[in-house]
């Protein structure tokens, strides 16, 4: 992979040298963005931001005017050297938490973030507790073993 890239770069350089300035000849296609690494960073950040004029789309994906403007804004901010967090803060200062697809962890969203984990732990604990309680009940409370419809359903025990 890395080998391919450096070979590609060498190829581009030699082609440019051979052609000189200004000639539009077929060759290695240029990246669409002026700075692909910055563009990738911009898309990563805007992929977690909500397009406010769309029906549930990210700023990275949307073709809406406002989304195009905001992508341009983020690009400029990144060029000026701002951090990812500064870009996010810029957006929330203007549009509120609504613009974030990753809800911030606050008092109002605590239930959201810890809810699933708590439910899973409580659910499994509850299961264990109920089963423990049942194990202490007398046999009379249970039904007798139904005849197994297929003996082969029972997994085979290893015979070594």
């Amino acid at each position: 992979m890395a080998n391919m890239r450096s070979m590609g770069k060498a190829l581009v350089l030699s082609v440019l040298l051979a052609i000189g300035v200004g000639a539009a000849r077929a060759g290695e296609a240029a990246p669409a963005a002026a700075d692909p690494a910055l563009e990738a960073r911009m898309l990563e950040i805007t992929a977690e931001l909500r397009c406010l004029v769309c029906q549930n789309q990210t700023i990275a994906d949307s073709h809406a005017d406002l989304a195009v403007d905001l992508r341009r804004q983020v690009r400029e901010m990144l060029q000026q050297g701002q951090t990812d967090q500064q870009v996010v803060d810029y957006m929330t200062a203007r549009y509120g938490d609504f613009v974030l697809y990753r809800p911030p962890f606050k008092a109002t969203t605590a239930l959201l973030w810890i809810g699933p984990g708590v439910m899973a732990v409580c659910g499994l604990l509850l299961l264990v507790l109920i089963l423990r309680r049942r194990s202490r009940l007398p046999d009379a409370r249970f039904e007798p073993d139904a005849e197994d419809a297929d003996a082969t359903e029972q997994p085979q025990a290893p015979t070594h």
Partner: protein
């Protein structure tokens, strides 16, 4: 008996859920409230729509209660609210400044010529950056800003007579003392 109560849990949870879903029917999931309310209006320095050499800054407005109305010649909903604004401007309750958002000077001026000009001054925001700073996402939008330059009210969408009578006029009176 306690065991019986456990079996009621699904029903209780359902009723709680239905309550919230019912409340949800009256809400608009697309409406984004402004985080700027109670905060200073963003700084700006924009040229006047009809006088490109004249620059208006935010701090020029300190000391007065004023209204900022975001509009554009390409905006269909703005046509709806415009006659109301023209009428409202005649009451001279407060200065009304327009923010011509992502438009062309010629188109904007022509639009005002055709449909009336309620604005003391219209600011020209060609690339929409000041709009972004104000958190504009849909045109038209209207802001009321107080004497200290703090944003006090935002209307998303066209102003209606009810909004003017019930929200804007009383607020302006209150802010003016």
């Amino acid at each position: 008996m306690k065991k019986r109560l456990n079996f009621l849990i699904p029903l209780i949870l359902l009723l709680v859920l239905v309550f919230f879903l019912g409340r949800g029917l009256g809400l608009d999931p697309h409406e984004v409230p402004s985080p700027l309310i109670g905060k200073p209006a963003p700084g700006f320095a924009l040229t006047q729509l009809d006088k490109p050499e004249q620059v208006i800054r935010r701090d020029d407005m300190l000391g007065k209660v004023w209204m900022l109305n975001v509009w554009a010649s390409w905006c269909v909903a703005c046509r709806e609210e415009h006659p109301l604004l023209v009428e409202f401007s005649r009451q001279k309750l407060l200065p009304i400044y327009g923010l011509n958002y992502k438009d062309e000077r010629a188109a904007g001026l022509q639009w005002l010529g055709n449909f009336g000009n309620p604005y003391d001054v219209s600011l020209f925001d060609h690339d929409g950056r000041v709009g972004i700073d104000f958190g504009v996402y849909g045109v038209p939008e209207t802001f009321i800003i107080d004497k200290q330059g703090v944003v006090r009210f935002k209307q998303i969408g066209p102003v209606t007579p009810e909004v003017i009578a019930d929200k804007i006029a009383p607020l302006v009176r209150q802010l003016n003392g």
